[in-house]
């Protein structure tokens, strides 16, 4: 059923009894042209673009839990393309352009809101670094604007500008940045892929990858064996475990990242603000809750929950930026598994095994990349070669020295 004003009115008149499920619950087939392991945002987007852009419709997405359970439902919903390095900027800008046309494309209201994303700076050196990043973005055709202190004050007057340790000097704003309703991205891509014939198989965990003569030919799952001509891995925090089924070791550590939401309040923050003197970012959901987060906990974890020192750290950063936050209650906090790569940048590439493709290493920045990640991974799988947008995101870049290290932190996943 296509979602439109006419279908909404028609259903309203019939008591909303005619709506159908957004996607089917098919039984697994014995074989597919391609299977995607991981039914998160990236896996669903990959299946959608494989069907839409490359005409492959005999596809399945295998999800061990249910759609929306993983990081696609656990992030802080921010979108931006404010990167510095050439290997990253065109990719993330492509993602931003896909976000801008996403709702019409998949016929689903994902609540894409380009409310602006402001990175604050608190020192002369930080201003210079931000000016450099802003210039790099503009040279790639991405919007960015350096604001001075008074311009920031006019935009977000409620911050602590005269903080004793970290006075706000200004900020770098990307006005096309903003937020997207994260669950709707999962549901929208799932529904759009399903409408093109993709089988979405929930509660179907991959337990083995069959390799014959150096070529991946199928997977073993909790719902039986499935043969596939091509297999794409998009398992996020579990990437190392899934890749190990094919005998691969990855340049990845899994870490836990926490996020928080406050009680709902009237409209307060009409943009996204990030603190420059610590790691903290905040926005307001359409329901009214303030959504915020900070650093990863910093140690290997598959526990899907973090510890209290980071809660304290995030709260301290928030209080330094916006003292009024102290009056609000935090109503929920949760954790997600981050596939932290060794240079802080992702991998979308072929693997040494024919027919097996890899999409991982998103660290804690995977949500904004969802459309381009799916788009580029679909291209890589269908054409058996990367697109120009993901050409630098190679698996072998750690061996050849072509790292994409935005932060310059080296091979320390917990520092990216």
């Amino acid at each position: 059923m296509r979602y439109a004003l006419t279908s909404l009115l028609g259903q309203a008149l019939r008591g909303n009894r005619g709506w159908t499920p957004a996607w089917r619950r098919p039984e697994p087939k014995a074989s597919y042209d391609a299977v995607i392991v991981g039914g998160g945002g990236h896996g669903l987007a990959t299946a959608y673009y494989l069907a839409k852009e490359h005409g492959l419709t005999n596809i399945a997405v295998l999800e061990k839990g249910w759609i929306g359970n993983g990081n696609i439902g656990r992030n802080t919903t921010l979108i931006r393309s404010n990167y510095l390095l050439p290997g990253n900027v065109p990719f993330y800008e492509h993602s931003m352009k896909l976000w801008e046309g996403l709702e019409q494309d998949i016929n689903y209201n994902a609540m894409v809101s380009q409310r602006g994303l402001l990175n604050l700076y608190h020192s002369d050196a930080q201003r210079d670094a931000f000016a450099r990043r802003g210039n790099a973005m503009r040279m790639h055709g991405v919007d960015s604007e350096l604001l001075d202190r008074e311009q920031v004050r006019a935009f977000v007057p409620y911050l602590d500008f005269d903080n004793a340790r970290f006075p706000i000097q200004g900020g770098l704003i990307q006005r096309r940045g903003g937020t997207v309703r994260h669950d709707a991205v999962a549901w929208g891509y799932a529904r759009a892929a399903d409408r093109l014939g993709v089988d979405i198989l929930e509660h179907c965990e991959v337990t083995g990858i069959d390799i014959v003569d150096g070529r991946a030919v199928g997977v073993q799952t909790t719902r039986g064996a499935i043969r596939a001509k091509k297999i794409g891995l998009a398992a996020a925090g579990n990437s190392s475990r899934v890749a190990a089924l094919a005998g691969l070791r990855l340049p990845i550590e899994s870490h836990v990242l926490q996020a928080f939401v406050s009680e709902g309040v009237k409209p307060l923050i009409d943009t996204v603000v990030t603190f420059g003197a610590g790691h903290f970012y905040i926005s307001q959901s359409d329901k009214g809750g303030l959504v915020f987060g900070g650093d990863i906990d910093g140690y290997n974890s598959y526990a899907w929950r973090g510890n209290l020192p980071i809660v304290e750290d995030v709260a301290e950063c928030g209080m330094a930026l916006m003292p009024m936050l102290g009056r609000l209650r935090v109503v929920r906090s949760w954790g997600g598994l981050m596939d932290m790569s060794m240079d802080g940048s992702p991998i979308i590439d072929k693997t040494p095994i024919d027919g097996l493709y890899l999409n991982c290493g998103w660290c804690y920045g995977g949500f904004k990349a969802t459309p381009a990640s799916g788009w580029c991974f679909a291209h890589t799988i269908a054409r058996d070669a990367p697109h120009a947008f993901n050409a630098a995101m190679r698996l072998d870049r750690f061996a050849t020295g072509h790292l994409i290290d935005e932060r310059g932190a080296g091979n320390r996943p917990n520092l990216h």
Binding site: P251, M342, N411, R412
Partner: protein, 93 residues
């Protein structure tokens, strides 16, 4: 999460700094570029028991080898990294 330091007793993990996998070993000078790549970048990243290096930076500053379950954050054992290195040297003279 609280880590029982072998010298200072049980302390909150915010007193410690994390380095990562304690099972990887620096290759010899004669190692191939491939072996250096594996040492520098590839990790087992297990779901379950993980041997890892922590330093008690806000305490005695000793390096520790902590065995911890990454699924539950339960600490299984803690050894002084020095003792681990010495016993490893003994095992492979």
């Amino acid at each position: 999460m609280r880590i029982p330091c072998v010298y200072c007793g049980e302390r909150g993990h915010e007193e410690f700094s994390y380095l990562g996998d304690a099972t990887i070993q620096r290759p010899t000078a004669a190692a191939t570029p491939n072996e250096w790549h594996d040492y520098g970048y590839l990790r087992e990243n297990p779901s379950g028991s993980h041997r890892e290096l922590w330093q008690h930076v806000a305490g005695c500053r000793a390096w520790l080898v902590v065995t911890r379950d990454t699924r539950t954050h339960a600490i299984i054992s803690v050894e002084a990294a020095q003792d681990v290195a010495l016993s490893r040297e003994k095992a492979t003279p």
